[in-house]
Amino acid sequence: MENLNSISDEKIIQDLLPQKFNRSGRIWTGVLIAICLVGVYAYYRQLRYGLVVTSMRDYVSWGIYISNFVFFVAISLVGSLITAVFRLSRVEWSTPLTRIAEIIAVAAIIFASIIIIVDMGSPERFYNLFIHGRVQSPIIWDVIVITTYFFISILLLYFPLLPDIKILLRYKETNDNRFKYLAKFYSFLGSFWKGTPEQFKLSERAINILCITIIPVAFTIHTVTSWLFATTYRPGWDSTNFGAYFISGAFLVGGGGVLVAMYVFRKAYHLEKYITEEHFEKMGKMVVLLALLYLYFNINEYLVPAFKMKKSEEAHLTGLFTGEFAPLFWFAILVGMILPIIILLFKRGRKPLPVFVAGIMVVIGAWFKRYLIVTPTLLHPFLPMTNVPDSYRHYFPSWEEWAIALGSLAGALLVITILSRIFPIIPIHETLTEQHETAD
């Protein structure tokens, strides 16, 4: 951020203050709200008529709700990667990306929790998890670690925000009508923050502790999520590779999500001076590494059982390689991993626009990859699918399922949009501090 040295503090603050939506921002938010409302209506229908409105049946008893859940949990891991791992290893260039990552993490973990409740047949009995919960069930582990992760993520978003809130509060006094309604909210959140050295010391320590704790918790949430599958006997799930496979995939999709978000925020809020080409260059390299790692685990996951072709695995694997799921399978491998690797390996590929395209590929590939992990396995049970109606032998999501899944994705984007409207998307205080340090 050498080029920031010439800019005054005042200019930086003005640049980074949250901005009102412009026309496209309003359209974007409106579209997201509309998609969410369709999802809410679909969920109303599901509550009324039961899960029969979905295409799930006794064999495919988990469909895109669950794969969407896995996707959300996966993408939420990016918070721990960018914020915690980079911070602890003192990667300084990541400063402008930390809040983006943390906001994505919070939005994703919120919708992971929502979508898992949507998948329940009797959501009105959710409280049973607390009054009858049994520790031996991986679902209870998931409830515990996701809740923990949620709170750590919120705090990790909140603590670094406090100095920024002070700056925001200062600006509300300057008659700036951007902050008319938000001022109260800001003082509720952070009026106690005076910015004394004592407070900074406390906050610094708290953030460090959170960064250290969030890493094992992040590993746990996604490992436990993988265990929802790996603790069963089914071909395609019965794998000791699953924890690491899921974690590496999670970091990849999170990295891809940040690539997309940094491009969009940079464009929408004119942050070219803060999110520089260098950031795209470095994040691009990072994503290559993550994609290679995930590819490695994919090879382990598919090549080893394919080499043996155990009878129970055969139908499942051939279904993926050459059968009904083959187009989707190769799409996910190619578009979700190989093409982004190729694009990002070249220096020219690490310019903002190609990085953005690669990021989109990673995210879309990852979403379908989760679907391929969940559903094909269920269509290949140990015993033949007999004495059931024909609809039980196939699965294609119903419109309600699509509406709810898309609604949840739109909801997560809406949360990200709103948070970026309320809070500075790039930490102002940290940017100033770093600028002063480099200036010295």
Binding site: G50, N128, I139
Partner: protein
Amino acid sequence: MKQENNSRREFLLTGLMAAGVAVGVGCSSKKNVFESGADETVIASGKKVKLLSVDGEIIEVDEAFLKPVPELPAVSNSEARIGIGGKKFVMVIDLSRCKNLRKCQEACNHMHHVNTGQNWIKVDPMREDEHTAPFWQPTTCMHCDEPPCVKVCPVDATFKRQDGIVLIDSDRCIGCRFCMAACPYSTRAFNWSAPDIPADIAAQPYSCESSVPQKKGTVGKCDFCPDMARRGELPHCVSACPNGTFFFGDLNQDTVSNGAETFRFSDLIKDKSGYRLMEDLGTKPSVYYLPPVNRNFPFESGLETDTKEKK
């Protein structure tokens, strides 16, 4: 030895009851219907009643020995979680007798009000390889001793009882369907919509032992009919099968019966090389299969049911 004979006789009688004869073994004062009333003194009235024995013979029994089956109170759901004391229920399915008639399925669906299209008992056409012989394989819930479904249930809605039966508390089930993913035998059926059952039955309080009434958004499955066992009767599938494919009984008494025939369980398994499904998974099922040798019906005879159903 005498003891064992007694217990075997009881089972013969339970078989009789399943055939619809309203007789009891004088145990109204006791909780456990499987315990004999040997210590009671009954004075013969001299009036004989003709009954069909499990061996197919007509036997005469003094009327004084017959007692009406008392209307047993439905057990509470907390009692239903414990099970019937001293029992370890097992089922034996003789594959040489099955011709895919699916009377078992019909009876089961009827008695449990299973949703149209779904079945708790399935009859799978099995063929391991093109060079091996096809056969019909009825599958119920395996009531595993290491039940994967119970392990993964987050709320203890599906549970394993002392008598070996795995049941579901539909009042507690949250509908996460983890048990369905975990069950390698694909035996569980979900109530995707509100079950299509008569209003008066739907209004009944749910009983874990009869699995009735099923509820929207919860999981159901074969329950080994413990409500019948409490009354000393056989599960519906067992008594419905005209070919006597299913045998049900108590491992502790080492006896299984299909209503018409009764065998010592260990002998039956030994003589006919009984086995269990997917033994390698370590689930330890309570359902044993006898291999389809010396068959009563050719495989093809079972195809009729399938074609009829298609029409």
